[in-house]
């Protein structure tokens, strides 16, 4: 049986005015065990003019009125999973490309995408400066997208793998892999992280005629949440798939990488 607590005792318990710790613990246990007593306590708690609650609400009101940082609204706007564009799909639509086994299904691939101007779409995802709206390569390939960022081009021209590079307004870049593709062109997979540790994008570019770098694929990483981990390391799945598709032989490392860069 619960001891019969008085309304005054219950009210004091609710308001934090009960000095007797043992009594407070007994009331807590009794309320947890007895739904009728819980009801009685809740009824008593109703309509109390609570100065403390008002003071706390006032104190935290500025947080409610503060502008919400864009990264929070963006967390809601972004589709689940990585956004990926694979330009090879677009250039070679007649060839059925195998879907990567670990495709999240939410990547953007060219068949769904063909109606959009590629430079616009890429600009939205990775930032205008990277591509600068230059669509159509010097080699006359209508699907080619050439890098328009001097900083990124300079990184791809000369930086060894595994060294972070300052890309000015674009943030930080790093080449993660260098290899020759099946056509013999030099290709480099790289990452760009927006200033201030923002979103990370992955991309693959291969050397084109005239010394330009042609973007083959890129994707923005899915934000890591909880235990979810994307296969193929952390890189955007579409970019990993494009590398798998194009790589011929082993990646180039060390002095070999630097030598190959010189004769790009």
């Amino acid at each position: 049986m619960n001891p019969a607590f008085s309304d005054a005792q219950l009210a004091a318990f609710l308001d934090g005015r009960l000095a007797d710790e043992q009594l407070a613990a007994a009331i807590e246990a009794a309320i947890n065990a007895d739904p009728a007593l819980a009801e009685r306590a809740m009824t008593l708690a109703e309509g109390g003019d609570d100065i403390a609650s008002q003071a706390v609400r006032d104190a935290f009101a500025p947080v409610l009125e503060a502008p919400v940082p864009p990264r929070l609204t963006e967390a809601l706007a972004a589709p689940v999973g990585a956004e990926v564009v694979n330009l090879a799909d677009r250039r070679d639509q007649t060839r059925a490309l195998p879907q990567p086994a670990n495709d999240t299904g939410s990547g953007w691939r060219w068949p769904q995408f063909a109606g959009l101007a590629a430079s616009l779409a890429l600009g939205v995802m990775i930032g205008g400066p990277l591509l600068g709206g230059r669509e159509g390569g010097a080699g006359g390939d209508p699907g080619a997208l050439l890098l328009a960022s001097a900083e990124v081009s300079a990184m791809l021209d000369a930086a060894p793998s595994g060294q972070a590079q300052d890309l000015a307004a674009l943030g930080q870049g790093e080449v993660v892999l260098t290899f020759r593709n099946t056509a013999g062109a030099l290709c480099r997979q790289f990452t760009i992280t927006a200033p201030g540790g923002g979103a990370t994008s992955d991309a693959l570019a291969c050397a084109a005629k005239g010394g330009d770098w042609q973007v083959e694929a890129f994707g923005r990483r899915a934000a890591p949440a909880g235990e979810m981990k994307l296969a193929g390391g952390d890189a955007a799945v579409g970019v990993v798939a494009a590398v798998d598709e194009q790589i011929a032989g082993d990646p180039l490392v060390g002095s070999e990488e630097l030598a190959e860069l010189k004769r790009k």
């Binding site: 807590e28 309320i31 935290f60 500025p62 809601l76 949440a225």
Partner: protein, 170 residues
């Protein structure tokens, strides 16, 4: 399945309250925004777990509170026990001077920030969000008497601060 557009709008509208909730839990706005961002990402990934017709705010507060508990667990592993509350106190008003300039309000916030973690989530839901004891108990997975008891202790601690004349705190 993704959240539909009206629900997305409801989540956007909920953001200020979610930030306030997380601010009370974490003790500073920067950590609060990290908790909110992770919570939103979790919510979008686990969208099919939300039952339409139930309270969206409750569901989000619950996710945010679990995220915060996870974070604290990790921070605890990293930094050793007693540093955490000290870190939270010190970080109390960082980087948001404009938002938290008002002196009296700052004292109340500081008092809330000094409450033990298990009282802060109850304070955030019942005092700020004006959840009923029953709804708070459900959102926090606690028995009602325990919610009442924790809030009661928090009120007792806050009363000491609120009763002090201006300028007398500490």
């Amino acid at each position: 399945m993704n959240a539909d557009e009206p629900t997305r709008q409801a989540l956007v509208a909920l953001l200020p309250r979610l930030r306030r909730f997380a601010r009370v839990l974490t003790g500073n706005l920067a950590d609060a925004d990290d908790v909110v961002q992770t919570s939103l990402e979790k919510a979008m990934l686990n969208w099919d777990q939300w039952q339409p017709g139930t309270r969206l705010d409750s569901w989000m507060f619950r996710i945010a509170r679990n995220t915060w508990i996870d974070d604290r667990r990790r921070a605890h592993n990293r930094a050793g026990h007693d540093d955490i509350s000290a870190m939270i106190d010190l970080a109390g008003d960082d980087g948001v001077a404009l938002v938290e300039a008002d002196d009296a309000a700052r004292k109340v916030r500081a008092a809330v920030d000094r409450l033990p973690p298990e009282q802060r989530d109850v304070v955030a839901l019942v005092m700020l969000e004006e959840f009923s004891y029953r709804d708070a108990a459900e959102a926090l997975d606690l028995p009602i008497g325990t919610v009442m008891s924790r809030l009661s202790r928090a009120k007792a601690a806050l009363a000491k601060v609120l009763a002090m004349p201006e300028g007398m705190v500490q």
